[in-house]
Every structure is written in C-alpha cells, then in structure tokens.
C-alpha cells in the first residue's frame, strides 16, 4: 500500500505548515479505507477492509484513531465495522447506514455508534466535520467536508455520481473517479461489461467527466493535493486520469491505493 505523499514532500511550504496527511490503506470496489490526520487528531475514513489489514496499515496503532467515518453501508466501505466498534473506536454514519448494517440487531449499537445527519456539523478532536448527502444506490449515503484548526479543509466524496453542493476554501480533495464514459461505453461494445452493470454504474459512481466538472465548479485556489479514489478495475485508466486531472487543475494529483 502506498504511503501519503506528504512523507515525500517538504513539510514547509511557504509560511504554512502542511498539516493534513492522507494515507490510503485501500481504495477500490474491493475495499476502501483511508487515514487522515492533521497532526493532532487521526481519523479513519471508511473501514471496508479486513480489520487485520487496518491494524497493519496503521502500524498496529488503532487506538490512536479518534473516530471512523463511514459513508454508506456497502461492504467495501464498512467490512470491519464490528471490530472497529469492539476496538473502542467511535464510529460515525447516517441513521440509514446504521439500520442497513443492522448494528442494533447485532448488539453493536451501544456507545460507539454516532448518528450523522446531512448538513449537521460535528466536532471530533481538532476536526469540524460537515456531512452532506451524496447520490448512490444506497439508503442514506454521505460525503464529508473536514476542517481543522489551522484552516485546512478536506473534501471527501466517494460512491456518488454527482454532488449537489459546492465548497469553498478547499485545501485537500479526495474524490472518487471511478470510470470514464468512453472506456465504459467501449467495454459494453466489446462485451466486457454488460448493460445492466453500465446502467447501475451511471447512477452510482463518479466518472472522470463529471469529476472534472465538479473541480471546475469549485474554487481550487487553495488546493494543495487532489487524491483520486475508487478507480474501477475495468473502466478506468490510472495514468490518463491522473494526467487529465493535473492538466485541468495544475495541482499535485495522486491515485489512492494500489489498483
């Protein structure tokens, strides 16, 4: 698994300390898990890989995680939720997600499960987090806008075919770029992908074309890093996506996880 780029970049850029550090433990339809820290409070975004891999990815320092935010109930985003709760980590997700995961029925809905509601912000340590509703084939999916005390702002959005909202002052963007329409179309033509899957993908995942529109619609002047998440195995092209997003934005762009 790839380490966050801030390990390789100078910590000092101008007069501003680059605080946010992103590490992708996994990023694909097989599993998603990211660690995000501002140097003070460590958060997990998703826990969609086996708990052992999370432990390993965090250098066996799971207890340092202040909270785990879960976007929706699909297994590639929350596979390890039971172990995370049992490990004593606070989890945060929508009521719809809690219901679908049957956490109450499994006796896991005790003190480590916190309900998120779109556009109602909360604080975890040094982070102020604004969840917002996203567009996916699940019950109550969320994306997150995370802001820290030094004024950095991270947008995290995955498994959404578009976002209703715009944001300001973003410094870090973690955005799903699942597929490109032309690759998906040609895979349907060649029979690699069937029409049913194509239709579902269109209504549940962000493509390169719409990701570009999203980036154009938002003020990127303060953006330091763009991370592309959740690339489809069949319908994406890592090098091309990275190149096109860098060409459009002029910002350092990273592909999360090893696909």
């Amino acid at each position: 698994m790839r380490k966050g780029p801030s390990f390789h970049l100078p910590a000092l850029r101008g007069l501003v300390f680059e605080m946010i550090e992103i590490k992708a433990l996994a990023s694909s339809s097989k599993g998603n898990c990211y660690r995000v820290t501002d140097g003070k409070t460590q958060l997990l975004l998703e826990c969609g890989i086996p708990f052992k891999e999370i432990q390993k990815g965090l250098g066996f320092k799971v207890s340092e995680i202040a909270g785990c935010l879960i976007s929706h109930e699909h297994q590639d985003h929350c596979k390890a939720v039971a172990e995370i709760i049992r490990a004593g980590i606070e989890t945060y997700m929508s009521f719809g997600t809690i219901e679908l995961l049957e956490l109450k029925e499994k006796g896991l809905c005790g003190h480590r499960v916190n309900v998120l509601k779109s556009k109602r912000q909360l604080t975890i340590g040094t982070w102020t987090i604004l969840p917002f509703d996203t567009e996916h084939d699940s019950v109550e999916p969320l994306g997150f806008l995370l802001s820290n005390q030094v004024g950095e702002k991270l947008l995290y959005a995955t498994d959404t075919y578009y976002i209703k909202y715009r944001f300001q002052g973003l410094t870090h963007i973690m955005l799903e770029v699942n597929y490109s329409l032309d690759i998906l179309r040609s895979n349907v033509e060649s029979g690699t992908v069937d029409h049913v899957l194509k239709n579902r993908t269109l209504r549940s995942h962000m493509n390169l074309e719409n990701a570009k529109e999203l980036l154009k619609a938002n003020d990127l002047s303060k953006v330091q890093q763009i991370w592309l998440l959740h690339l489809s195995e069949k319908n994406s092209d890592e090098k091309r996506f990275k190149r096109e997003i860098m060409e459009l934005t002029g910002k350092p762009t990273f592909i999360a996880g090893a696909n």
């Binding site: 009521f95 809905c109 916190n114 209703k164 715009r166």
Partner: protein
Amino acid sequence: MATATAEKTNGQVKTNALVKKDVVDIVAARIRVLQEKNELHLPPNYSAENALKAAWLALQEVTDKDGRRALDVCDRTSIMNSLLKMVIQGLNPAKNQCYFVVFGTKLVLMRSYFGSIHVAKSVDERIEDIVADVVYEGDEFEYEKLRGKTRIITHKQKLENIEKAKIKAAYATVIYKDGRDESVIMTIDEIKQAWKQSNIHPIDDKGNIKLGTVHDKFMAEMAKKSVINRICKPIFNGSDDSNIVAWYARQTDGDLVEAEVEEEIAEKANQELIDVEVEAIDSEESEALPEPQKQAAQNKKQPDAQGTIFSPTGTEGPGF
C-alpha cells in the same frame, strides 16, 4: 464528450432545421448497405422506408422541455443513431411502438410497451405474446411460485373494484407458442419504486404519486408499462451478443439511462454552496458535549422520534 460539445456548438450556430436528405436518406442508405452485406435481417413484414418516413413526420412535432423543435436543437449524430436503432429493432412510431425524446442536445429513442413486446417477440421466437393486467383491492387473485417461476392461477375481477386508488399490483405474462406461460408480479410499492427513477419525477418525497402527472391520470396503464418492461428486461438481457436486435434493445435502454443521468447531473450538480461554521464552534464546549448525550442515549437505546439513536452533534448544530 468533446464531440458532443462540438456538435452542440454546431447545433446552436445552425439556425435552419435539418433537412430530410441530411438525415433520413443517409440512415436509409446505411441500412441498405447492412442488408446487402447480410449483416442485418429485417422481418419480412417490416418496411424500413415506411418506418423512417413515419419517424421523420413524428420528429417534426417533437420538442424539448422549453418547446424548441427537436430538429433545431438535437445534434445530427444522435438523430441518425435513434433512427438506426429504431429500424434495427423493427419499430415504427406510426404503430405507437416507439417515440423520441429530447435530452439537452441529444435525441433519444424510447420504446413504448407495445414496442417492447414487439422486440421481445423478435428476440425470442418462441414467444407468442406478452400481456399485462392490474390487480385491484377485492380482486380474487392467486398465483404460485415453482422453481423461481411465477404462474398466475386465477384472476377474477369485479367492475366495482376498478379504481386507481385501489391498485395493489400489476402483472405481465409471457405466453409461449408451446402453451407455457410465465409471469412477473410487481406490487404497487415496487411499481412506485420504479417510477422514482423516471425523469418525469411522478413521485413526491413522501412516496405519493403527484397529482396531474401522467402516472396519476393513467395509473393502470403506467403500471402495466412498468411490469411489461420488467418482464422484457431478462428477455433482452438473456440473449447473447450475437442477437443484434437484443443488443440494440439493451443499447436503447442504456441510451435512455445515460441521457437521463446526464440531464440530472446538468440540472442538480455543484449548485448549493455549503461550508462548516467554524465561528459557531467553541472547541471545549463541543468536545465536552458528546458525553452527556451519549449517556442519555445509552439509557434510551432506542431511536427517538427523529429516528436518531443518539447524536454527538445534538443541539449545537449550526441550524442549516
């Protein structure tokens, strides 16, 4: 994407509508070539020429949602593709088997349920017919399920049952030439769920059908349409890629989804500006807040009236 934009620009610059020879004659020529090469076999009772003439006539009347003529706003490629897909599936708008809808600058071919039945019959030659009906409250309706297949045993209806507010379900039945039959049943909830996907948005946030919509006025017909589409889908999807008609039937459905999604995104994406409210947060207070709330919630252990089990954000929310 780049091509579409270029065509869009062309379409806007062009003030004169497309003329027949620019479009229909080219499609007709393409079809003749396909037939001569033996790549396309149209049913003997189908005249591509007549269907194209009917389509051209129909297209004169098609407008987008702002009332602009399809032939003025749609790009030529999408018009030609719609016509080509119509002919390959053996459809004719004069027989109410298909119609055309404008999405942005794209023309999209859509099948009516007569069209879907027609295509299903040509994809699977064992099919004699496909029928559909609606079940009302008070109807005598019995069905059985055997090895994953549904068979309707009886459906007896009284005239006084027929009232749109009393629709409980709809079903469609494929009747095969050898006498077998197989059905699909959709409850009204499942039908409404399918309607939620419709670009007309006939269902409101509370899950009710909006008054005055086509789904409200012709509820039984629209329910039949949904269940016929449901039963036809596996027929189109089940056949292999060598069946060109089935492939184009799937492609037609896919075009619609693509156009609907594109329209939805253009309309709704990247609109409202939202942000965290940093001033409102007193870090000490907000960090301290979750504890008592969690305690309270642990005592409750049941969702409260708002449906929240408990919330760390509680009352300190910025009040969006």
